[in-house]
């Protein structure tokens, strides 16, 4: 998995209400959710985000609610992957389960500016910014399997078939 895209940069503790405000939780169609993605943190985001863009977050990205609407909205908005210093645990689980690629990097956040282009190479485990390479945190083999199988439900189906 390789992702090359422009960065949308956010700070620490980007909560699920910022990612998809609860007033839109009467929607569960992915595109409907994507139209309001990040609305309270960056009102221009949903209109300006381009397929393949990358979200860079600080500490505790996705804290708050268990709503899977959050990674669904991000994925449906066309975002290729999210790289943060750390993730809140339910958001972390949800992303793997529904197939949004996410990566932890302690260093990336202070090294990049909004709008900059980076390349995330999950296969080699490095992020490329210009000529510089930053390591991404290793994902446990079981979770790599989840992503490879296309999320939890597909993983269960494949496991049942194996």
């Amino acid at each position: 998995m390789k992702f090359k895209g422009k960065i949308w940069k956010f700070g620490d503790n980007i909560d699920t209400d910022a990612i998809i405000p609860a007033r839109y939780l009467n929607i569960w169609d992915p595109q409907g959710l994507a139209a309001h993605c990040m609305e309270d943190a960056a009102p221009q985001f949903a209109k300006q985000v381009k397929p393949g863009d990358i979200i860079v977050g600080g500490e505790n990205f996705g804290c708050g609610s268990s709503r899977e609407h959050a990674p669904i909205a991000i994925k449906a908005a066309g975002v290729a992957c999210v790289v943060a210093r750390s993730f809140a645990r339910i958001f972390y689980r949800n992303s793997f389960n529904m197939g949004l690629p996410i990566f932890e990097s302690r260093e990336l956040w202070e090294r990049v500016q909004e709008g900059e282009e980076i390349e995330v190479d999950a296969d080699t485990g490095f992020i490329r910014i210009g000529a510089a390479l930053l390591p991404i945190q290793q994902v446990p083999p079981f979770m790599q399997e989840l992503i490879a199988d296309g999320g939890l439900m597909n993983h269960l189906a494949k496991k049942a078939a194996r």
């Binding site: 503790n13 909560d15 209400d17 910022a18 405000p21 609860a22 007033r23 939780l25 009467n26 929607i27 569960w28 309270d40 943190a41 500490e59 505790n60 804290c63 708050g64 609610s65 268990s66 709503r67 899977e68 609407h69 990674p71 669904i72 750390s86 809140a88 645990r89 339910i90 689980r93 949800n94 389960n97 529904m98 446990p140 079981f142 999320g151 939890l152 439900m153 597909n154 269960l156 189906a157």
Partner: protein, 420 residues
């Protein structure tokens, strides 16, 4: 090597003699539950994966509570989808409006979750049941779909942070104040990926309502669970309610912890968490002069009968400030009826308050008390993120029922001791 209560419950449900932090395990869940917001996505995933029947119709629980009674057409569609699924699957624990309440108050009250359980719910405040001595954690909709189908789920065994509360509680200080203080101490990611274990002699004195409040907010420190060692108080609560046999687990004396934090509760006064993070906690004496427009008393955090009694005790014979709004939301029909029979409704109504049917409603900015730009609410709920209860230019101050009630009377942030 000894194990913590969390490790014991996880190992038992994984069919292993022992587990240790960092292990990835597959474990049987006792209860898997969802609500009108999270269940539709789970039901969709369940069907897409070819799901026909849930693993056990007595152990999959669906509760309409977030935007129910239906707040608009889209919410009505979500509730209907969940209702149709519950009927099709002949779920024993589906509760319709009139019997339904805020899920995390309702499940323990009805004895659906019991001590020693491993339970998951597609709602982050599922950690509430840790108060019973259950390992209980919030998951997303896809996890719920998998659990509904197989009765199992994968878990990473968390490290445990131990919090020991010493000393005697000050007047008007309860579980909400202890947990806001604790989150203030460690931050909103202070327990990320970890379990929090609450112990100490001050904890032994707490009611079950106070314990539910504390466990409920473990997630606000990033915690996976917030667990208590069950005792005589737990026993008195579950006796006569529990729908299944239950087990009391305790941590071994030689259990290994990530860290141990000692807290002297005598130093803790009623707390208020300022916008826009639950960790912005301050003692009531340090809040300054903050004008407030509305109090919300209710939710899975503080909507139990004990909470309403505290609020009524403060409001009895008093009236809320001119132009102020007081919204009281009993968390379940049983709490509602009890409050009514005890005469608490008269006290709230005489004070100028309004009483809502059980719902999560305003806590997550749904309905029944949404804030306009520039408005401020003191709320007994659990989150004060930007825009949480309405306009992004509104503010939420988190507190316990005593502060929410006293603030309503004075129209500014205040504790009961400031009332004359």
């Amino acid at each position: 090597m000894g194990m913590t209560i969390s490790e014991k419950i996880l190992s038992r449900h994984a069919g292993l003699d022992a587990v240790h932090p960092g292990m990835l395990i597959n474990a049987k869940v006792d209860i898997a539950h969802g609500n009108d917001i999270t269940a539709p996505i789970a039901i969709n995933a369940f069907r897409k994966a070819g799901g026909k029947k849930v693993f056990d119709r007595t152990r999959v629980v669906l509760i309409p509570d977030h935007f129910s009674p239906n707040k608009d057409i889209d919410s009505a569609e979500q509730c209907k989808m969940m209702r149709d699924f519950a009927l099709e699957q002949e779920l024993v624990h589906y509760y319709e409006v009139g019997e339904a309440g805020v899920e995390h108050a309702l499940l323990p009250e009805k004895g659906i979750v019991v001590p020693g359980d491993l339970t998951v719910g597609a709602d982050s405040h599922t950690c509430t049941y840790g108060a019973l001595g259950a390992f209980s954690t919030g998951v997303g909709s896809t996890d719920l779909a998998a659990a509904m189908m197989t009765g199992e789920l994968w878990f990473k065994v968390p490290e445990t942070m131990k919090f020991v509360y010493h000393g005697k509680l000050n007047p008007w200080v309860g579980g909400k104040d202890l947990i806001l203080y604790t989150i203030g101490l460690i931050g909103v990611d202070g327990a990320i990926y970890r379990a929090m274990e609450f112990t100490g002699e001050a904890i032994a004195e707490l009611t079950m309502a106070d314990r539910f409040t504390m466990s409920n907010m473990a997630i606000e420190a990033g915690g996976k669970a917030g667990i208590f060692i069950p005792d005589a108080v737990t026993e008195a609560y579950v006796k006569g309610r529990a729908l299944r046999p239950y087990t009391f687990y305790a941590s071994d004396p030689d259990a290994v912890y990530h860290s141990t934090t000692d807290i002297d509760v005598a130093q803790i006064e009623p707390q208020v968490s300022f916008p826009h993070l639950p960790s912005n906690a301050r003692g009531i004496s340090a809040v300054g002069d903050v004008k407030i427009d509305q109090s919300v008393i209710g939710s899975c955090t503080n909507g139990r009968i004990e909470d309403l009694r505290i609020a009524a005790g403060v409001l009895k014979g008093r009236h809320i400030a001119p132009g102020y709004r007081l919204i009281v939301i009993p968390a379940t029909p049983a709490v509602y009826r009890q409050a009514m029979q005890e005469g608490l409704f008269d006290i709230f109504l005489d004070a100028g308050g309004v009483i809502s049917p059980p719902t999560c409603g305003p806590c997550l900015g749904g309905y029944m008390g949404i804030l306009a730009k520039g408005e401020r609410c003191v709320s007994t709920t659990n989150r004060n993120f930007v825009g949480r209860m309405g306009h992004t230019g509104s503010e939420v101050y988190l507190a316990g029922p005593a502060v929410a009630a006293a603030t309503a009377v004075l129209g500014r942030l205040a504790g009961p001791d400031q009332l004359t």
